[in-house]
Amino acid sequence: MALDHSDKPRTFKVVGTRPPRPDGIDKVTGRARFGADIVAPGMLTGRVLRSPHAHARIVKIDTSKARALPGVKAVVTRADFGAVPEDVADVIDNCMAGDKALYDGHAVAAVAASSAAVARKALRLIDVDYEVLPHVTDVDAAMKPDAPVLHAGRQEETVPEGYSQNVMSRVEFGHGDIDKGLAEADRVVERTYRTGATHQGYIEPHACLATMGPDGQADLWCCTQGHYMVRNTCAAILGMEQGQLRVTASEIGGGFGGKTVVFLEPVALMLSKLAGRPVKMVMSRSEVLRATGPTSSTSIDVKIGMTKDGRITAGFAQLRYQGGAYPGSPVDMGSMSAFAPYDLENVKTVGFDVVTNRPKAAAYRAPGAPMAAFAVESAIDELAKGFDLDPLEVRLKNAAREGTVASYGPTFPAIGLEATLEAAKAHPHWTAPLGENQGRGVACGFWFNFGGDTCVTLNVTPDGTVTVSEGNPDIGGSRASMTMMAAEELGIPYDRVRTIIADTGALGQNEVTDGSRVTFAVGLATIEAARNAKREMCKRAAMIWGIDEEAVEWVDGAARPAGPNAGKHDPMTLKEIAAIASNTGGPIAGHYEVNAEGAGVSFGTHMVDVEVDPDTGATKILRYTVFQDAGKAVHPAYVEGQFQGGAVQGIGWALNEEYIYGEDGILQNAGFLDYRIPVASDLPMIDTVILEIANPGHPYGVRGVGETPIVPPLAAIANAVSEAAGVRMTDLPMSPPRVLAAIQGQKGG
């Protein structure tokens, strides 16, 4: 695999500029077609019936009255799917409940009807006989041996005795000797931190349009972060061959990890199969909140020791994440990332993956890491302040750098944490004066970043323009980045390249748009595809000139003789070579397929000023600055956008967002009215500082940037609020009632 081709420091012509995105006009005129924006002839409307109980055995479902309603064309329950392969069993059970409904909002049946009104009516005619069971939604309660059990007999061998069967697995990471380290400390902070469950909160609800014919061929249009994943998962569930199912990704109205799994798609396909007509399904906002992936809520014990000069002698954390109704919370990611920013001799994390009667957690931007960082960075802040040490200096003193053995095992190559801390220290924000009831917080964050299976095909048209086909939905400007990298590599102007997102029939397997992988991995494949096309074009020029193809090089968008021995020939531009492609062997293309492993990790440091109203506990964000290593910022405006968006999602998580369950296990706030994501008037501008410490694993040095920005904010804001309020905040969200109670408790105590 050709990953070790990192070019020496180079100057870029296109990369690093801020051209208009290719899909810009579609998106500002309303022409862009998102998940719900498509129709098909004869289309039916699909709707889902959802459990009103947090935990119930489904004794019987009687759909006969619904089927008899005029206009109803198909009704589906879990029974229609039959047995499915083991690796998708939980997936289909989450899309359509089997023996038990495991959370409020769990799908139990679906209909396809001639109109939305008929579909609505049909749902009411479905009789479900539920045997209501005791439920549990809190992570600590779910771990107790006497907690109601969701799944019996599925516990991994890694879980010790004494826990409920809801504890699905246990992981442990670290090195050194915690007790020895703690003994060396001048002070030890030991606290429990809790975070509420938050939702990714994309503005576009899940939507799809499925068409399946009696010949077994199917077409699916949907908003997803990965249409290849949708294809593979749906094919497995429906017992189809992957090649028979063509999935086209619509424009996607946000995902943040929440659209890396299927919810409606297999159901729509089954409805279409049974009805023999296209079926469109669109979730309502309340369905999105009740039944699609939120994050884990967590409970984390931290114990950190520090010497009075600020050296961390030991770090321990026990992390308990509930991942909703099925195993697979990101507690392993949290456990691996918790102490990743620090060079520690003694470090240990233990993680428990717990199931509860809540919707199955889906990935959310650096899944698992923000909560762990919240706990660890809060404790470090408390220690630093206790010794009256500068919190940035303390972090610098302990910062991981090249050669540090990471808390999760490997030795770091060149990384950018110190650079972000130094930039933070030098920034005017750090020394700006603060007023009464105001506080400043800082925190660091880490994310792994991924690569994965990736295909890119680059075609040269007869008139010398270039089209790039990639297989990853463009969630925030990636078409622009790919276009830029192709133009850069080919040495042609940006506007001579057009990038499209191809459907599953057009390219090979592509990993989901996740793990901050796209600019890294698809970018790498785009560059390599361009290099292959260049090689071909050099060959064509060599044919024309009658010289060896090795004697031709590609410079500034044209083939040239590589040296004096190659003879004197005028350069042939891409356009000139394209024009004679038919005469020199046929169309010119470059393609590249790779499992792009070796992504570079990423670090960031956030700084925030807040003001807390001591009479109401309300927090106002006054100033916010993000410092992050981007490796190489391909389109800096969209890099800044990732930093800003991640920070603001973090602000929501820190201050107001949370899933609120009643005693009855029913979600109380399934709407944007009471699931309170930040609005424009809540916020200041979000300043950004992009650091560029090249990733040796990418030809241009690119690192993923999308996820890291959500890791530090929870702790940075908690540290700022704690300073402003004069009391250490350990539970998120720091909603006004919680902050006011803490302030009053402090006064009382």
């Binding site: 991994e156 890694t158 095992g409 490997p410 793990g515 992988r517 492993e597």
Partner: protein, 81 residues
């Protein structure tokens, strides 16, 4: 022989060792070697793991070369958002 570091909770299945030695020149040989020497690791290997080789993370590329000097660390399978 390649030295392989395993994470804490896997040590239970490697006779308490957090570092084991496996004869391997590629990732595939490494995984096969681990499963052969330490059958207790098999459930975890089947669930999927990531491997850091000299600080870079690999998931599936069997023929990624590993040298005796390589730093090899088993990781939980990484997933992103």
């Amino acid at each position: 022989m390649v030295k392989v570091r395993v994470w804490g909770s896997l040590a239970e299945f490697t006779e308490g060792q957090t570092e084991v030695e496996i004869k391997a020149t590629t990732l595939r040989e490494l995984l096969d070697g681990l499963a052969g020497e330490y059958p207790g690791l098999r459930p975890q290997l089947e669930r999927g793991i990531s491997v850091a080789i000299d600080g870079r993370v690999y998931n599936d590329s069997w023929f990624t070369p590993i040298s005796e000097e390589s730093e090899v660390v088993l990781l939980r399978r990484l997933k992103g958002g």
